[in-house]
């Protein structure tokens, strides 16, 4: 089960699956949490999870959405972060970035060449969860997974 907008990483690595329950009847209840409030991928994820499980032979599936505790980028697994970087997206740093909350710029390494000589082009990127950066050394623009 991949993230429809970042197909390099699956829903477990993204940290959106918060609970899995199986009732005696065999009904599965999957609890997921949205990454960003307005993320349009959440509806697709919920539908995909349901479809996959039904196809795998689970008799009944319910996907619940839970808002609290709020998702943070710290829930992305280390494996998930490694895959993001390989895919060309700078992964979020550890700590629900206190510097970003205070309005200070984080130091973001270029996922292509590793240089830390990078500059923020825009606070908002190609999807709700990303910002747009540029590497000053290899000159490649790249997406960064915003810290939340």
């Amino acid at each position: 089960m991949k993230d429809p907008e970042i197909p390099a990483i699956n829903v477990l690595e993204l940290g959106v699956v918060r609970g899995v329950e199986v009732e005696e009847s065999g009904k599965a209840i999957i609890t997921i949490t949205p990454t960003y409030t307005g993320c349009p991928a959440m509806d697709v994820m919920a539908a995909d999870i349901k479809k996959e499980l039904l196809e795998a032979g689970v008799p009944e599936v319910e996907v619940k959405m839970s808002l609290a505790p709020a998702w943070t980028t710290d829930w992305i697994t280390d494996e998930g972060k490694r895959k993001l970087k390989e895919y060309g997206i700078a992964p979020p740093e550890k700590t629900a970035d206190i510097r970003a909350l205070k309005g200070e710029q984080p130091v973001v390494a270029c996922p292509q060449c590793g240089s830390k000589n990078t500059v923020l082009l825009s606070l908002f990127g190609s999807t709700a969860c990303k910002a747009l950066w540029k590497c000053q050394d290899c000159l490649e623009p790249f997406d960064q997974f915003k810290c939340l």
Binding site: T37, A70, S122, L123, F124
Partner: protein
Amino acid sequence: MSQSLFTYTLRLADDLLILSQRLGEWCGHGPVLEEDIALTNRALDHLGEARNLLTYAGQVEGKGRSEDDLAYLRMERQFTNVKLVEQPNGDYAHTIVRSFLFDAYHLPLMQALTKSNDEQLAAIAGKSVKEATYHLRHSSEWLIRFGDGTEESHQRAQAALDDLWTCTGELFETDAVLEEMTKAGIAPDIATIKEAWSRTVDQVLSEATLKRPADAFMMTGGRKGLHSEYMGFILAEMQHVTRAYPGVEW
């Protein structure tokens, strides 16, 4: 009690829904590509938050209305957003000032709401607060750039500020609904939100070398469903497909 909670939740939702609709108008028209993406991302964030609130409002009301029913099938008089968010986009300074004045109010409101006695509102706020922080940063940075930029950008930012200032009084109005919600520990004390708002405004305006307008005439009426002449056009655009083809799906 539940009637007041419904009204209060709907107010929170309507502010975000209408601001989202306004920001969405910039799609494909942004001054630079990055800002086009930024404004539409913001519109999406506001819309997501509005959806959570509208869904909850529908549950509180208990008459089976969904988020879509509340967004698409209410008349102008039934919308309770402040007039600030329905003001036209104008030039980019107007768009930024409108968002800044709202963001500086929205962030402390969401922070305070995370401690609400109402669990669902607290959960929605807990989710929103991180995005609200990001939004305020975006609008503040642009306002500083405009104010402390060229003579032209400074003058336009000041004009937008003077123009929209009359819409800020409404953000902090109180009435029986809000008083009841505050007493119940569901809504925060609006006076403390105003203090936080005022501090942010002073700090950013000073960095932007802009002058804080004096409080004089303030618009009112939005919370009672009395809107400016712009509101009908926003709703016409937002609702016409649903109204022309009831129950349409794609």
